[in-house]
């Protein structure tokens, strides 16, 4: 260890301060959900759980929740299929333009969200609407699916890289067709990576708002419900509850995913995989 004692103490303090900065707002939102008062002044005087009930009975909140769940499930399904296919193609075969694929799938989250959103909206208005697909749950799913592919892809590519191709070759040599090989050999080895990727895709879709605003038309997802309601002072207690719910609903799948496969897919596999190896459920 090159670092001196003093350096280490300073580092520990600095690290603690940064962590506190990261977590303070999340703690605050959890506390606000129990605020009895409609005005959002701090410190909070009285605590209550009544707003949870109010939020649950609210028709618009329920509608938005349902839309969010449908959109996240649809987007996850699309991303699972396309992300898996792309990862297998890239890992197992050589072809022209292979390098571009990784770049292409990461583009929707690397470009500013407003660009992706605006581009998709322009396409929906100018191309899809004439074809009969106008703003609906489907346009939300298409948009979310597009930027969710990357998490599945990254998780699957990281896993395939660790597997050897010999099992698949053996399967083919023993007479299995391509589908049987995938179904009985490749898929079981990929399962946890795909589960983790799927959970992350769900979480990513569930709280997305920047692109969704452009692709949703009149539909409201939960984050859009928050967006339209936090300008209304009387709705704020419900907004607090919904906000806490969105945080919890996005964090839980991520935690499960981290335990299952030890990667996030948003950042590269090397980083997530190595750093989280202690949590990796598999040898």
């Amino acid at each position: 260890m090159v670092e001196s004692r003093v350096t280490r103490v300073v580092l520990r303090l600095g690290a603690g301060a940064t962590l506190a900065f990261i977590y303070l707002p999340l703690v605050v939102i959890a506390i606000y959900a129990f605020n009895e008062n409609i005005s959002q002044t701090w410190p909070i005087e009285h605590y209550t759980t009544k707003w949870f009930g109010v939020a649950w009975r609210d028709e618009s909140v329920r509608g938005a929740l349902w839309t969010s769940v449908k959109a996240a499930l649809g987007a996850t399904a699309i991303a699972l299929v396309l992300g898996t296919l792309a990862s297998m193609a890239v890992s197992r075969y050589r072809f022209f333009g292979k390098e571009t694929i990784s770049f292409l799938v990461i583009l929707p989250i690397a470009l500013p969200g407003i660009i992706t959103g605006l581009a998709l909206q322009a396409t929906i208005l100018n191309v899809l609407t004439p074809l009969g697909i106008s703003f609906s749950i489907w346009t939300i799913i298409i948009g979310h699916g597009t930027f969710c592919i990357v998490v599945i892809y990254n998780n699957a590519v990281a896993r395939i890289r660790r597997l050897s191709g010999s099992l698949e070759e053996a399967s083919v040599d023993l007479g299995a067709d391509a589908w049987q090989t995938f179904r009985f050999v490749t898929f079981p080895q990929l399962r946890t990576a795909l589960l983790a990727g799927g959970l992350l895709a769900f979480a990513l879709s569930f709280d997305e708002v920047v692109v969704t605003i452009f692709t949703s038309g009149a539909q409201q997802t939960l984050p859009i419900w928050i967006f339209t309601n936090f300008a209304r002072p009387r709705e704020l207690p419900i907004v607090n509850v919904v906000a806490l719910f969105v945080v919890v609903a996005s964090i839980i799948p991520v935690w499960i995913a981290l335990r299952v496969a030890g990667g996030t897919g948003l950042t590269s596999d090397r980083r997530g995989g190595e750093g989280l190896s202690a949590l990796d459920a598999e040898p």
């Binding site: 090159v2 670092e3 350096t7 580092l11 600095g14 690290a15 940064t18 962590l19 900065f21 990261i22 303070l24 707002p25 605050v28 939102i29 606000y32 959002q40 002044t41 701090w42 410190p43 396309l82 992300g83 296919l85 792309a86 193609a89 694929i101 292409l104 690397a110 470009l111 500013p112 407003i114 660009i115 992706t116 605006l118 581009a119 998709l120 322009a122 396409t123 100018n126 298409i142 597009t146 592919i149 709280d207 708002v209 920047v210 967006f227 936090f230 906000a243 969105v246 996005s250 964090i251 991520v254 981290l258 948003l266 590269s268 090397r270 980083r271 190595e274 750093g275 202690a278 949590l279």
Partner: protein, 266 residues
Amino acid sequence: MLLAGPLGWMVVLYLGSLFVLFLAAFWDTEPYTSEIVHTWTLDNFEQILEKPVYRDVAWRTISMAIYVTIADAVLAFPLAYYMARVASPRTRSLLVVAVLTPLWAGYLVKAYIWRTMLGEQGVVNWLLEPFGLSGPGYTTAGLWLTFTYLWLPFMILPIYAGLERIPGSLLEASADLGARSVRTFWKVTVPLVFPAVVAGSIFTFSLTLGDYILPGLIADEQFIGTVIYGDHGTALPVAAAYAMVPVAVMTAYLLVAKRLGAFESL
């Protein structure tokens, strides 16, 4: 064969969409009805280059992106360094989870809670009051704080990965050769980790350039994103042309980042 589906989806839908947006930048708008006319014109670009408003907003956004990037790098470094070189393996993996988790906790929720916290009677002022200070409130500084908060994990993770990749023997060699720790830090650690900082800055930069919700929410100011968002309903061609500004800035940024070796740190 495997590629047909994903490639078709990405190329047709996504690249196609980007292309439509690019084309839209050259379309014209009927001045009275705001209808889009599909005739080719460079007027939109001319407007953006000539009207000082567009230039001011672009400059304001880019400087905000720079300040946010610097703040994030400064905040991220001690934590990343602690994770990579001081913490035990177990603490390290817990810290990685601790940094990753808020990344997924929802952009809008975090924006909303900062709006609440920065209020006149919010948490920030309450925390600072005992010291005789008051928070930035709904100002550009408050906006800067919120941006810095939101993009921080994107900076911590690449720096952590970059630091972890530096072999400890290099630092020991520097110490053995008589360099004091400050000198080792500036002459060995910083140059080696710099590409990772640039990698993190790709995110902080891109995210700030494209944001259209926070500026209006926290500080009531015009940024590139808010202008595009404000224009896109009534004047899509101008909005599309203006959208080419962040795209151009990011393209240039990515090219420079690539030369600095940041892509290996991504």
